[in-house]
């Protein structure tokens, strides 16, 4: 949670924001790396308590650029169907083909939430499983610790109206080879209020899923590429 934006602010308030509740009441000084790190101040720099108004230990990465694949393939009874996957290094679109897309993230350092380092994001994807269900998956390179954040928010309200927050405990968790994977699986569909007008149809038989959280708004064509026409924020808290 960010510090207040006005009024009295104490060194302990700042310390707790930087180091979490466990450091409350413990000795600290204003030049400690985690405390001045909240305002990106260098060691020994002149600082004013007002500089910490609104400061937050949460690291948000913004304007995420994701990759995509979009392709056609021959489905049942010879019909032409369409495959689409999007995300940051998301899985392949489906058995119809398609190369897993790749993209770039605007923030590639460690995600730090209230002083706890989660690790670096390896993948952030939202995709369909071909059975009318959608999933959210993200991977963090780090230690085997299913902890460190309470919620994750996907906000693409600037382009397609999606602003959804999920509890960490609503995800399944796996760990192997230094990689923490969170999966929110088997969602039938998000509510209509979350669903933008330009959802993407998965297959041609009506089993639609949408890729809207990190999705682009326009400009897709056959092939694989990195999106340039969308923005989204993903925030851990």
């Amino acid at each position: 949670m960010a510090l207040q934006t006005s009024g009295q602010i104490s060194l302990n308030d700042i310390h707790v924001e930087a180091g979490g509740a466990s450091v409350s009441g413990t000795a600290c000084n204003i030049n400690e790396a985690d405390i001045r790190g909240l305002i990106s101040a260098s060691s020994g720099a002149a600082m004013d308590f007002a500089d910490w108004y609104g400061a937050s230990a949460s690291q948000d990465f913004t304007t995420v650029k994701s990759g995509h694949t979009f392709h056609t393939y021959t489905g049942g009874r010879g019909t032409t169907q369409y495959g689409f996957a999007i995300g940051f290094n998301s899985p392949a679109a489906n058995t119809g083909g398609g190369t897993p897309p790749s993209g770039s993230l605007s923030y590639t350092g460690d995600i730090v939430v209230s002083g706890t380092t989660l690790g670096t994001i390896q993948m952030m994807a939202h995709y369909g499983d071909g059975n009318g269900r959608t999933s959210i998956k993200f991977e963090i390179q780090g230690t085997n610790t299913n902890s460190g954040f309470t919620t994750i928010n996907f906000n693409n309200s600037g382009t397609n109206g999606v602003n959804a927050t999920f509890n960490r405990t609503s995800f399944g968790y796996t760990y192997a080879n230094g990689k923490r994977t969170y999966l929110y699986a088997g969602v039938t569909r998000f509510t209509s209020a979350d669903s933008p007008a330009n959802t993407y149809v998965w297959g041609g038989s009506g089993s639609a899923t949408s890729s809207f959280i990190l999705g682009p708004t326009t400009g897709n064509s056959n092939g694989t590429g990195t999106e340039s026409n969308f923005s989204a924020t993903v925030t851990f808290a």
Partner: protein
């Protein structure tokens, strides 16, 4: 399928009232929220089924 799967439980570090079912399958560690019965106790049968479903979903979707 997955007949040898067993799970243990742990309380979440940050939300102590939340209980995870924990298991390892082929060197991959998994956690998924347990199923509680009407009295708020862990329903072992339903939780085991949930673990198997989660594992099956992960494996069959190559996740």
């Amino acid at each position: 399928m997955y007949d040898s799967l067993t799970f243990t439980t742990r309380n979440d570090d940050m939300e102590p009232d939340f209980i995870w079912a924990c298991f390892t399958w082929e060197d991959v560690y998994y956690e998924i929220g347990v199923v509680l019965d009407s009295e708020g106790n862990v329903d072992n049968t339903q939780t085991l089924t949930k673990c198997k479903n989660f594992l099956h979903y992960m494996l069959t979707n190559n996740l």
